[in-house]
């Protein structure tokens, strides 16, 4: 397969193209490897096309339709050959699933291709539950966690129960929901730098709500939101507000790969 690196594996399970997402690729590859482990344990054959960069959402949300389309074409070319496409992000999976079809609505050549891709694209936890029906993760973690529902995953893809169903399979783990789990943390892509005052206010409110739980870790399925929450937690700590709340991508916990430092903290 051109541009792809299949893992040497004897699995005959579905061929899954892993859409790493640019944030995971650049900032936190451990989420990518955790995704690979979860998918491989589920019996999938993993392919990681080299020609992927980003889903194009920053351009799309900024009204730059032309660049968004150019980038989307690369993704369609890179991933349409696989049985499934999985991303450790509701936002990026949502871009492919919900927005590519809109982006190419007036393009007769691309329309069937983007619909085909949209149909087989999944957010990671949704794929593990809704397609692979994973019921017995062999992993344990003695921690109390809470979960932040990222907006795109929640509202565009209906990702709500899937991560919780998976977390319920982690031995020793306790989920304590927090009240503002469904309220936007204020990340919003370029929003967080363009309208940073509002974004900061919003993430402050998220953290107020998080602080009311006994959770030791806040988990989520989108790195952007998690970096925003952690970045604010960390700054508040600098300013003297005590908090031991750690931040992680849910895939790391589900894959039992919590030996790496949490987001925003150094190893060792």
């Amino acid at each position: 397969m051109p541009n792809s690196s299949p893992k040497a594996s004897f699995s005959s399970g579905p061929k899954v193209g892993l859409f790493v997402t640019c944030l995971v690729d650049l900032m936190r590859p451990s989420v990518g490897f955790a995704s690979v482990k979860l998918l491989e344990d589920a019996g999938c054959q993993i392919f990681v096309p080299e020609s992927q960069t980003c889903c194009g959402q920053p351009a799309y949300n900024a009204g730059d339709t032309k660049d968004a389309k150019d980038i989307a074409r690369l993704i369609v070319d890179a991933f349409e050959e696989f049985e499934y496409v999985v991303a450790p992000s509701g936002s990026c999976a949502g871009m492919i699933k919900e927005h590519y079809p809109k982006l190419f609505a007036d393009d007769l050549e691309m329309t069937p291709r983007v619909f085909n891709l949209a149909k087989k694209t999944y957010e990671l936890t949704s794929f593990l539950i809704d397609v692979m029906n994973i019921q017995d993760l062999d992993v344990s973690l003695d921690q109390k966690v809470t979960y932040h529902d990222s907006c795109a995953g929640l509202r565009e893809l209906g990702v709500k129960d899937q991560p919780r169903q998976l977390l319920a399979q982690v031995e020793g783990l306790i989920i304590e929901e927090y009240e503002e789990a469904e309220t936007c943390c204020g990340f919003g892509g370029t929003f967080c730098v363009k309208y940073s005052d509002i974004s900061d206010h919003m993430v402050g409110k998220s953290i107020d709500a998080l602080s009311e739980t006994d959770a030791e870790v806040v988990l989520g399925g989108d790195l952007g939101c998690l970096m925003n929450i952690q970045g604010k937690l960390s700054r508040l700590k600098d300013e003297g507000k005590e908090s031991n709340l750690k931040v992680r991508h849910v895939a790391e916990v589900l894959a039992g790969m919590t030996d790496t430092a949490p987001i925003g903290e150094a190893n060792g």
């Binding site: 992927q52 960069t53 799309y60 009204g63 730059d64 509202r155 919003m202 970045g231 604010k232 925003g264």
Partner: protein
């Protein structure tokens, strides 16, 4: 157009975030409207189905708006009323002034009307020596304070009860200065007492309309204070002011819309008062105005109808999108700078005021989708905000930092080989810079983030680089 500060959105935001009283007042939205809507919507089994019906009614009506408006006019006239068409706010104001002058009006009582705000009718009447008196408590409060509404159904939601007491003491100087106004009921009774005579003295009553019913020629208002009823039945002239998209074909349709309106707005099953006005007082009627006028305003809406934003005309002004919007909840309504705030305002304002004035509004959203989730007529607000962003970009109204940032990023994103070559190993270097902390306290060109948040450092090599190594 009525004064707008939408172009100064960013400085409005700074002020709003620093305003402690505003921040305190905004907290009531979550415990009030949001919590109550949730209970009301969950209690009604067919609520989601009703939303579909409400959407379909409005979509159908918008597609045949000319037909229904014509039927409406015929039925208003058949019941003895008058219909006046206003292409823009100047025409609307002139029509209203003329009706008032013909009635020799000194005072005009007013029910709550967002269209009245849109055309700036109060200021216009004042300039022409007619005294407008707001009778909705919230509107009365902001009239005393000389402000615009900050919410489409709760105009004074930004005001604390202490601030209301202050405004009352300043204005109602006939009353004992040391009277207690601590209890909200005290405020309500005082406002009622002040307004009672005004209702009776007024020459003209001006109300908005939540719906105009084509088949009967009826205007409908919903209120919780009964002030609208007194406004439209006591004076000898009643003017209902509405925009074209308030038209609905039948009484049956209105009942469907009413079932989703109050639940979405305040969490009530129905508003306390729902009043139907058809024509002037008839012989057998116990009360009602001698003259009944309807002023129907376009003000840019037919352009929306013909363009990419026609879905916005489904809006029934319940305010649910404001109540549930995290941006609105952070900054309040005044920051948006004009009459319509929140997600619906961020779509409508550029349409009515022009994108040059309001280009910030559709951009100042995380597109979290909560507004669409609660909209009773299922307006795809995030998609409409994106459509405005397309135009912002096309017309080159994007700020230079964002524009060039995006251009650079897109250049790499479109060239995977170059991208992976450049970032492949370099992230390791970046990670080293963060040292033992695992994050950055400041990053050049990222001050928007790092002024208030640390930036988590990358782990090291990129996933793609590590994946290559693993599969060598």
């Amino acid at each position: 157009m009525v004064r707008s500060t939408s172009s100064q959105f960013k400085s409005n935001v700074k002020e709003a975030l620093a305003n402690e009283q505003l921040q305190h007042a905004l907290k009531s939205i979550k415990t009030g409207f949001v919590a109550k809507r949730k209970i009301a919507s969950e209690r009604l089994e067919e609520f989601e189905e009703l939303r579909d019906q409400a959407r379909d009614i409005k979509t159908h009506t918008i597609a045949h708006m000319d037909v229904y408006l014509e039927i409406y006019q015929q039925n208003v006239e058949a019941s003895g009323g008058h219909v006046h068409w206003a292409a823009n706010e100047d025409e609307a104001r002139a029509i209203i002034l003329e009706i008032c002058q013909q009635a020799d009006a000194k005072t005009v009582t007013k029910g709550k009307s967002m269209i009245g705000e849109e055309i700036g009718i109060n200021e216009y009447l004042e300039v022409n020596d007619i005294v407008p008196i707001e009778t909705d408590l919230g509107e009365y409060i902001i009239q005393l304070r000389g402000e615009m509404p900050s919410h489409i159904i709760a105009p004074a939601v930004h005001v604390t009860k202490e601030q209301v007491a202050e405004a009352f003491k300043k204005t109602h100087t006939d009353l004992a200065p040391d009277r207690s106004l601590e209890d909200p009921d005290d405020l309500l009774s005082e406002a009622r007492a002040m307004l009672r005579d005004k209702f009776i003295e007024a020459d003209v009553g001006l109300t908005g309309a939540n719906f105009l019913i084509a088949e009967t020629g009826t205007s409908v208002i919903v209120t919780n204070e009964g002030n609208g009823d007194l406004t439209q039945t006591l004076p000898k002239v009643h003017i209902a002011l509405a925009s074209i998209e308030k038209i609905v074909p039948t009484l049956e349709d209105v009942t469907t819309l009413l079932r989703v309106l109050a639940r979405s707005a305040t969490g009530q099953e129905m508003s306390s008062y729902t009043t139907f006005s058809t024509g002037p007082r008839r012989e057998a009627d116990l009360d009602g105005p001698a003259e009944y006028h309807v002023v129907i305003l376009d003000n840019g809406r037919t352009d929306l109808l013909a363009g990419d934003f026609s879905e916005m005309l489904r809006c029934i002004r319940c305010g649910a999108c404001l109540n549930h919007c995290p941006v609105y909840n952070a900054v309040g309504g005044h920051a948006y700078g004009w009459v319509y705030p929140g997600p619906m305002g961020a779509v409508l304002t550029p349409g009515l005021m022009g994108l040059d004035e309001a280009s910030h509004l559709p951009q100042a959203s995380t597109l979290c989708g909560k507004c669409e989730e609660v909209c009773p007529v299922r307006i795809p607000l995030p998609a409409l905000l994106r459509r405005w962003r397309d135009q912002v970009f096309e017309r080159d109204l994007t700020d230079w930092k964002t524009k060039w940032g995006l251009k650079w990023w897109a250049m790499f994103a479109k060239r995977p080989a170059l991208y992976h070559f450049l970032v492949g190993m370099k992230m390791q270097v970046v990670a080293k810079f963060a040292g033992k902390k695992g994050h950055f306290k400041s990053i050049m060109l990222m001050s928007g983030w790092t002024d208030s948040r640390n930036f988590p450092a990358p782990q090291g090599k990129t996933f793609q680089a590590l994946w290559k190594e693993r599969n060598k």
